[in-house]
């Protein structure tokens, strides 16, 4: 059935299809529709919604609920994810699966609540202290909001780690016609380096802590064990990259110029690509949906590479460790990058 759905609504549907039964959150624009819809939908399914006193409490309750065996999530925007940062690290350290949605708005601090940006890409990656890896997915359409939220729950469970769905105000608030399933069946594989998960109350009593701990869950002072465990937390994400990498390529096969984009800017890139093709320029688009760990292999080719972003060029900068000829387009005024802004650069580099 075709529906008119907002990105944030599709996110809720994706979570429910993945079996989400717990939501804790705190109101913040532009993510609040997710909480509002969860407050309506979860009780109908025997799930629980709670509005907590702040974002720190929200992520804490989500981790608690996950530990109690529920698929659990929260949603927020920049200021909220800053507050959640410490407990995201807890979920990484204690290996508790959960999903955190960040619908990005522009600027540090309060910034501008209703204007989009992609300024949190490094916050999502490195937001919590200590050396770690995190899985971050970036939707570029309303239907992505459904499917990537669904995947976020799968990846979180598969890897026993928090997964961040990094959306933005445009994709979160945009409405389009979509056709989505209510339920999706998908097996969750058991993976090497990922310990099996035993929810509280299931008969296996054990200790969970954010301290570095040994395999029994008990804190350790042993440097050898500390390093072994921290390296495993990184390795369990790195070695299974092939199972979590989602990239869409459009007209890349014959392309001389490729626009690499993520989130709402993918939409600008696709239009710019078609406009360029009309002018005879062989242009393609790579839509990177798994932003972290970044699939660097997608840029290892002969084409010229343009990376438009609604930030100061954060991903372009990161890509320079793989190739030094990245052409960065940046925009930080709270507006989407328009196709003609990309087209201009495509024309320039293809001459």
């Amino acid at each position: 059935m075709v529906e008119l759905l907002q990105g944030n609504e599709a996110c809720v549907k994706g979570a429910l299809a993945a079996g989400c039964r717990f939501y804790a959150g705190y109101p913040i624009t532009p993510s609040s529709e997710i909480a509002e819809m969860m407050a309506v939908e979860l009780p109908k399914r025997g799930g629980v919604f709670i509005q907590m006193e702040d974002e720190i409490g929200s992520i804490a309750a989500v981790i608690g609920a996950s530990l109690a065996g529920a698929r659990a999530m929260t949603a927020t925007s920049g200021p909220g994810i800053s507050l959640m940062a410490e407990n995201i690290g807890f979920a990484i350290m204690a290996e508790i699966p959960c999903v955190i949605v960040d619908v990005q708005r522009v600027g540090p601090s309060t910034g501008h609540a209703t204007k989009p940006s992609q300024g949190d890409v490094m916050m999502a990656r490195w937001g919590t202290h200590g050396d770690h890896r995190v899985v971050v997915l970036s939707p570029s359409s309303v239907s992505d909001m459904f499917w990537l939220t669904f995947k976020a729950f799968r990846f979180a469970e598969m890897l026993r780690t928090p997964v961040i769905l990094l959306s933005d105000e445009i994709i979160g608030h945009m409405r389009t016609d979509v056709e989505l399933p209510d339920e999706v069946e998908e097996e969750i594989p058991e993976l090497e380096d990922v310990p099996s998960f035993h929810p509280f109350g299931g008969g296996k009593r054990y200790h969970v802590t954010g301290l570095v701990h040994d395999e029994t869950g008990f804190p350790t002072n042993d440097g050898e064990i500390i390093e072994k465990q921290l390296k495993r937390l990184i390795r369990k994400i790195e070695r299974h990259r092939d199972k979590i990498t989602i990239v869409e390529r459009l007209n890349v096969e014959d392309a001389d110029v490729v626009i690499l984009a993520y989130g709402c800017v993918v939409r600008s890139a696709i239009r710019a690509m078609y406009l360029a093709r009309e002018e005879g320029i062989k242009c393609g688009v790579v839509d990177v949906k798994t932003l972290w760990p970044f699939p660097y292999e997608v840029v290892e080719s002969e084409f010229k590479l343009i990376v438009p972003e609604m930030n100061s060029g954060l991903i372009a900068d990161d890509l320079r460790k793989v190739r030094n000829d990245v052409i960065s387009i940046t925009k930080m005024n709270g507006e989407i990058i328009y196709p003609h802004e990309i087209l201009e650069i495509i024309r320039r580099v293809s001459n």
Partner: protein, 237 residues
């Protein structure tokens, strides 16, 4: 069951003379008297000396981030309403960094059993001032004596709507044990504050040993309160 059968792992890291063991002892005796099974109990703690308690106990145990134990416990309780959820916090944990969660857990009157070991000091980090440090007490961050007023946590929780509120000291072990038993049977937010001694970080700087501190708990506490007395008792049930 023997009390030691409730421990999964010992020895603990607490100093000789510390009040934490007394509180845990009272908690375990209450659990034993009520006849709860280990599988029916979750214990959640924050950061600090008392937070380490969960690691030693043979329940489902969760040692969270500093100040957030009540919020983690809220998520667990909502998904496992049939389980008894203890939340073990220190005064820094519950009253400073986690003060907002304490207010809101009390306001929601969520069925958790919160036990605060209030030793008036940050013990684990080396004896800094806490929100419950008495006026003029010496700490490493108030070398001239504490100039702020201490928090009355029971009054705070009463005002916020907690439905079982009690205060005892580590001298009042029987009363404490009874309160924990009552809390286990109480269907709302139970808050039990326990004045406890930290001889190493508080006592040493304020010229008291653990025996003197316990004696003070005995002599300077009363059900009526007033003057320099610590008001003890069950304030709401």
């Amino acid at each position: 069951m023997r009390i030691r059968d409730y421990f999964r792992r010992l020895p603990h890291i607490w100093c000789p003379g510390c009040g934490n063991g007394t509180i845990i002892n009272a908690m375990l005796r209450a659990i034993d008297e009520v006849g709860l099974k280990k599988d029916e109990i979750v214990a959640v703690s924050g950061i600090g000396c008392f937070g380490r308690a969960t690691g030693y106990l043979d329940f489902y145990t969760l040692h969270t981030t500093h100040g957030r134990a009540l919020a983690f416990a809220t998520g667990i309780k909502l998904m496992k309403p049939e389980m008894k959820v203890f939340v073990l916090m220190g005064d820094g944990d519950a009253a400073a960094i986690g003060g907002n969660h304490l207010i809101h857990a009390a306001r929601r009157d969520i069925d958790l059993i919160a036990i605060v070991a209030n030793n008036s000091i940050y013990g684990m980090t080396g004896g800094q001032v806490s929100p419950t440090t008495p006026e003029m007490a010496k700490t490493t961050t108030t070398p001239e004596g504490c100039k702020e007023r201490p928090f009355d946590l029971c009054e705070l929780v009463l005002a916020a709507g907690g439905s079982y509120v009690a205060r005892w000291t580590t001298y009042h072990v029987r009363q404490l044990q009874n309160s924990i038993k009552e809390a286990l049977e109480h269907p709302g937010f139970s808050f039990i504050e326990v004045f406890s001694q930290c001889p190493v970080q508080f006592g040493r700087r304020n010229k008291k040993d653990h025996i003197q501190m316990l004696r003070e708990f005995k002599e300077k506490s009363s059900l009526e309160g007033g003057g320099d007395k610590i008001k003890i008792g069950v304030f709401r049930r």
